[in-house]
Amino acid sequence: MRRTLTTFRTLVAAAILMAAFGASSGSFAQQTRDGLNPTGQNPTAESVNEDFLFKQDPKITGRISIPDGKAAHLIQPAGRDYRDFRERWLPWLSALAVLGAVALLGLFYFFRGRILMEPGPDTGRKILRFNGFERFAHWMTSSCFIILALSGLNYIFGKRLLMPLIGADAFGVVAQYAKFSHIYLAWPFMIGVALMLVLWLKDNIPNKIDIAWIKAFGGFIGNKHPSAGRFNAGQKMVFWMVIGFGTAMSVTGLMMIFPFALTDITGMQLMQVIHALIGIAFIAGILAHIYIGTLGMEGAYDAMGSGKVDLGWAKVHHDLWVEEEQAKNASGPQLGRHQVPAE
């Protein structure tokens, strides 16, 4: 009984539907010609399109159903610009900066030669220039810097220079460990930069003596030695370069260690560009620092080597500092207030 009723109901419903369709089909058929939308409207009149969206914003962003915000960017053509920078400009810029710095230092060495010690009445006596903790901070930062610089250059030149030599698989392993060292040794480097800032800030405030020092070209040209305190203007420049570049590298580096934590894809690209550009400038600057601290000037390396420099050298290069130290020592113990022997 129930089944018959259901069948009957279905038949009635079908009949009504057919009647309704038949009534409207006359006008309906006229509209469905080829190339015409049955509703008579153009659905693209309101629809979004690529050109329109690119006019509003350089990247097209929509809504996604996965909780990964960076996936919401549909197209970001800026990736092509980033690629242009990284592959077309960066290798040449870094080669120019690094090789240029080496070439300039070579020329300087060739024409000026090694800046030698000038024998005087105090030659042979020693004075403590950097105590153990200062040397520790310096060497921690510098050893990390060398690893960071090499592994950083590996991102640019590894595939161009090293990969053809050792093959893709071996280079993959080397690059992996280079990356680990870059990420993890960045932390002692950042701590080292902070330590050096605290240790040497008070001796690195620019003052009038520095202007005179710069006007005399720091004694690099000619044989005069302009007066200088604990650090001369050149050393102050190195200090502020390390602090400034170190901070910039730390900030951009942290942004890249924690990708997309604070910024979007455009920000990440920018961070990489800044990190790379400052990085190569930093390497060029530090090359000059390494040169003058070792090969370029006799007697300078002892300051960071043993910590004790020749008193004669100190009186020539840092006369005001020696006076200050000796005034302190005259009224106190012979080794001085913060002169803790390291060895």
């Binding site: 080829d34 190339g35 015409l36 939308n37 153009n42 659905p43 693209t44 309101e46 629809s47 979004v48 399109n49 690529e50 050109d51 969206l53 097209i60 929509g62 809504r63 996604i64 159903s65 996965i66 990964d68 960076k70 996936a71 919401a72 960017h73 549909l74 197209i75 970001q76 053509p77 800026a78 990736g79 092509r80 980033y82 690629r83 990284r86 592959e87 590996n154 991102y155 640019i156 590894g158 595939k159 990969m163 893709a168 698989d169 280079f171 993959g172 690059a175 992996q176 990356k179 680990f180 990420i183 993890y184 890249m256 260690i257 924690f258 990708p259 894809i265 990440m268 690209q269 990489q272």
Partner: protein, 198 residues
């Protein structure tokens, strides 16, 4: 050889995410890694369109260019693939990719986020075709079986087209002429430096 491309007909895509599901299932991609995703533009407004997006296998791919270890290579079918043995997970390809295709197994610090994973156009990786190791690292290799990517095959409205660029452009052109409208081949200008002229 064919020049393989993807084309998403945004006027047909209904954001059903079947392509995403098909991809995940075919390659056993873990959660959170989206080789393919559907992005909805102008969501909830008139003119809303959805576009299914994955690696577009660009001409002169930016990811391959910026890779510091050159782990990318292009197959004879112009499919952009990479070697997970060489990849160091640096993330530069994600910065360069116009389509956000590269994915990483771990988020958070850049130091150890693992090897990059992306759409392989169902073409596996550098390992020998249809081997177990290839499947484990890159998913299945349908191209080696003579099949096209599963996402396009699964598409319920045939919005997502995969295959030879000339051929799918032709299909799309015919569609647009037949129905009288079309919002264009999304991403083609950026990926292939050309668009489907209608």
């Amino acid at each position: 050889m064919a020049r393989m491309k993807f084309l998403c007909d945004a006027d047909r895509c209904i954001e059903c995410n079947a392509c995403v599901t098909a991809c995940k299932n075919e390659h056993e991609v873990p959660w959170g890694i989206n080789r393919r995703r559907v992005v909805t533009l102008n969501d909830g407004k008139p003119g809303e369109r959805s576009v299914s997006m994955a690696c577009m296998h660009c001409t002169d791919a930016p990811c391959a260019a910026v890779c510091p270890v050159n782990c990318f290579y292009t197959t004879a079918d112009a499919v952009v693939l990479h070697s997970k043995d060489i990849c160091i997970g640096c993330g530069y390809c994600f910065y360069a990719c116009p389509f956000g295709a590269p994915q990483y197994p771990k988020v958070g610090n850049f130091g150890s986020r693992g090897k990059m994973d992306k759409c392989t156009y169902c073409a596996g990786g550098p390992e020998s075709d249809l081997s177990t190791i290839e499947y484990e690292k890159y998913g299945s290799n349908r191209l080696a079986e003579g099949k096209l990517p599963l996402c396009a095959e699964m598409c319920s409205t045939k919005a997502l087209l995969a295959g030879d660029g000339e051929m799918i452009a032709q299909i799309y052109k015919q569609r647009v002429i037949k129905r009288g409208y079309g919002s264009g081949a999304w991403g083609w200008k950026t990926a292939y430096r050309e668009t489907v002229a209608i």
